[in-house]
Symmetry: C2
Subunit: 295 residues, 2 copies
């Protein structure tokens, strides 16, 4: 058996097109484009690259991109003042402060300063709580993208056994909440889990989000399982080249799983697409409009 590849790149492209359509309607009814502000502190090269591609995608979706670059030695107070300014700016619907921040900055304090209605990363405790309770709010982009791929692949998830490997605030925990809300039976596993292969083998849905290259082997999987691989680590190969690896040993998994996201081209492209989606949703809520359909 060879698993179907879940084409996150194509799904993300479709979502970005739908977001662009919604953004265009918003612009014509409201007289302004939805706006996303992205804050980069310091020169961390991968962060700078993320910020550039987020800004580009924002403009391509017909939204305004506001980029703010601060020096690595910016003070907590200066960063907080910028967040306050963006909170107050009516042209800004979404605020994203690119993590990680320099060590002298308290990240939690920054996250909690962002207006929850503009918190398109979904990291504010208020949004984490809304998700937990089942209220409307802004949901972290990566797990939201994973859920979309799962629902596209499987339809109704109700009653399926799901395992989430990893318990980070950014992926694992919100992913588990989304799957509980979708009526899966959900197991959260992590580094302290005693028998991870056995736990994985019971699951119809496996979401791997630990950042340990190829931790999950093909023979751990239940035949026919749907596998979402959030990992993407650059690993040096024997020949000195570097290869992007997921948390799942993909060539082994292809022989057992029913469907699997490739790395790259699976979950990765969904994160930015969901960021754009969250921004246009935030714009609608702030304008007192109903949630846009089809996103």
């Amino acid at each position: 058996m060879t698993a179907r590849l879940i084409d996150g790149k194509a799904f993300a492209a479709g979502l970005r097109e739908r977001v662009a359509g919604v953004a265009a309607s918003f612009a014509s009814s409201q007289g302004r484009q939805p706006g996303l502000a992205v804050v980069l502190v310091g020169e961390h090269p991968p962060s700078a690259a993320y910020v550039r591609s987020k800004a580009k995608a924002t403009r391509e979706a017909g939204m305004e991109s506001f980029e703010h670059k601060l020096l690595a030695d910016v003070s907590q107070g200066q960063l907080m003042a910028l967040v306050d300014e963006l909170n107050a700016d009516p042209a800004v619907d979404g605020i994203l402060v690119q993590m990680p921040l320099p060590k002298h900055i308290d990240e939690q304090e920054v996250i909690q300063r962002i207006d929850p209605e503009k918190d398109v990363d979904g990291f504010h405790p208020m949004n984490a709580g809304r998700l937990s309770i089942g209220l409307e709010g802004l949901v972290p982009c990566t797990p939201l993208g994973c859920l979309m791929l799962l629902q596209h692949e499987l339809g109704d998830l109700s009653g399926l056994d799901a395992i989430v490997v990893g318990r980070s605030n950014i992926v694992g925990k919100p992913m588990a909440q989304l799957l509980i809300q979708a009526s899966c039976t959900v197991t959260v596993a992590h580094s302290r889990t005693k028998d991870l292969p056995a736990a994985v083998r019971r699951a119809d849905i496996v979401v791997a989000a630990v950042g340990r290259p190829e931790l999950i082997r093909g023979n751990w999987l239940k035949p026919g399982a749907t596998v979402i691989d959030v990992g993407q680590e650059r690993v040096e190969q024997a020949d000195g080249t570097r290869k992007l690896l997921g948390d799942v040993a993909s060539s082994e998994a292809m022989e057992v799983a029913g469907a699997i996201t490739p790395v790259p081209g699976g979950v990765g492209p969904m994160t930015i697409a969901c960021l754009l989606r969250n921004t246009v949703v935030a714009a609608h809520r702030r304008a007192g409009l109903p949630n846009p359909e089809g996103l």
Copy 2:
């Protein structure tokens, strides 16, 4: 084998004594007792009884009890105004609005109006989010009490397999968060779960919180498991008398489990004790004092 009974009544009595000690130190250093305001709307007899016993326990712990009784036809606006008043009152450290509220009242709106720092029920989305993210906050009383009993019984929970049966906002979901934080491998099961007996049988820790009398049978349990039974439903017996039953078939479970909470006398007494604990903790935080130890 006969399971050990986990004496929640005795543990709760000890906790209430420790809370009283902390409340007395607080009163002597701050010149006022910690204060808990309880709001009862309408005449629902069990709610009225809960409120009376909460008020009595509050006074017994050396704290001030403020009771507010509103007529069943109170408007949303009047109830919100009372919450605002209690939020602003410096003598009030904790606010509890007794649920359920009459149908014409929007419960979520009331919960979200309570200052999260006084939300001793832990139901505000801000506190649900803090729990989810792993920040300090106020945790719902019943799951907090269950965690205390588990840690008292088992010590370190790290690596244990736990199942939470039920996914309510009041018990199931926060219980799962607490167990994930305690490094258990946690499964959340519910009415849509396909094979509940098999899922329960894998668990070292079973927390049953579904409100279905004796749903969980003795032969579903792993021998030696620790069982926390949150259910307490009054059920009419063949002879016409009424008996309080938990979610676990207790006489069967006694033969298989390692330890189990009785109904009544297990989880029940922990809820009020944790409410008092949350109130004295809220008082300390509001006064800028470090969290009291030993609670």
